[in-house]
Amino acid sequence: MKHEELIEVYLQDLERTLGGLETTERDDVVCSVREHIDLFLACEPITEERVRQVLDNLGPVERIAREAATDQGPDTALLPVEERPEAENRTSAVASPTHPVSGPNTDRPSTDSFARSGTQGSSHGFSPSTSPLRFPTEWGAGSWPLWVWPIVALLAIACLIGLVTHPIAVVVTAGLVTFGVSIVHWNTRLGTLLFVAGSAFAVCVLGGFAFFLSTGTEPQQLPVSTVEVPQGNPPSPSPTGVPTPSESLPPTASSSDTASPSPTASPSPTASPSPTASPSATVP
């Protein structure tokens, strides 16, 4: 095997074993190890002996992953190096009795047990392509970088604006869709920003929705051309001078609003508690 292949196999194994870490952190460690190898080999002409020496000194990839997982908590995903006969054959040339690069040699039992112990009760230990959805284990504010919070604040403002200017169903749907997209996006390891943003958006929307439900305040809604009127109760002028629903309501009342406790929101005789809101309830 060529020297470059030895190095690439080692780095690929390392990257795979660090698979449960954040992308930036994993890349940082892998790049640092690559720099270490490059610097070591830059001093003298590259020989197979020197390549083996530098990989041997770096130690097994599982040991590096173990160190990387020190501050990641028990649920950190450390993906074991896949048992590939080809890889074992290739890396066995690099392995030493005390510091195998990978493969089933001396350090293998301990690393396997480590991998198992580090994946108890979680979906970790599988490759990203086959693992079920991952969910964050730390939701505390301390786990989010500071720059996330201005984004969250902007989203909250956007949600408030949306809640007073758009039908509630549209805003809630937007929040749920954003949240779903962010979950899928995050699980493809393309980053956490969208996940955090989508989560924040969903939380803000649902929080605002719950607030309006609890307070009984109906958000303003955009004009809608159609007004649903129950059959058999055509709108008619009110004998008491109280404007009919079609006159007093904003023209946005729709079927999604029939459950609203707002006194002026619904023409339905069964949903509105207000006697002045529905002519069918007050007019015999």
Binding site: L14, E25, D28, V29, S32, V33, E35, H36, D38, L39, F40, A42, C43, D56, N57, L58, G59, P60, V61, R63, I64, A65, R66, E67, A68, T70, D71, S96, P97, T98, H99
Partner: protein
């Protein structure tokens, strides 16, 4: 002689290796910080320096996750510098927070080590009974 040269693990007893692993977790990062008190250093250089201490440092590769963690904590900072021979090097330097951390570790290490030594040292039961209760440094420590 390094472990790789002698071909034997540092602690032949697996339990001893486990104990060592646990102790390294709490100590090694401060030793890295202490090494950086002499000035900024790059990874390969640090690995070579720390590799001389075989009880403390076994695999050079474990240095990089540790350095990444120290950088996230704000205890070290990195700068790229060109090299006369070879590619540019990433130098790790101690921050003010890192200096404070290693100073704090240095301050508590001596009494901590003394207490551990005291607890681990064999006690003659006869002298212990004659002299009264053993005062091993835990007095007044409501633990």
């Amino acid at each position: 002689m390094t472990p790789r040269e002698c071909g034997q693990p540092i602690a032949a007893n697996p339990l001893g290796e486990k104990v060592l692993t646990q102790m390294r977790k709490g100590v090694l990062e401060y030793c890295v910080l202490a090494h950086l008190r002499c000035g900024p250093s790059y990874g390969l250089e640090m690995a070579a320096a720390l590799g001389r201490h075989r009880w403390l440092f076994t695999s050079e590769g474990t240095l990089y996750p540790l350095l990444a963690r120290l950088r996230r904590q704000g205890w070290v900072e990195t700068t790229w510098r060109p090299s006369d021979a070879g590619p540019p090097r990433r130098y790790y330097g101690l921050t003010a927070q890192g200096e404070a951390a290693v100073a704090a570790f240095t301050e508590v290490w001596a009494p901590f080590r003394a207490e551990v030594d005291s607890v681990l040292s064999p006690v003659d039961p006869a002298s212990a009974h004659r002299d009264g209760p053993v005062t091993d440094g835990f007095e007044g420590d409501e633990r």
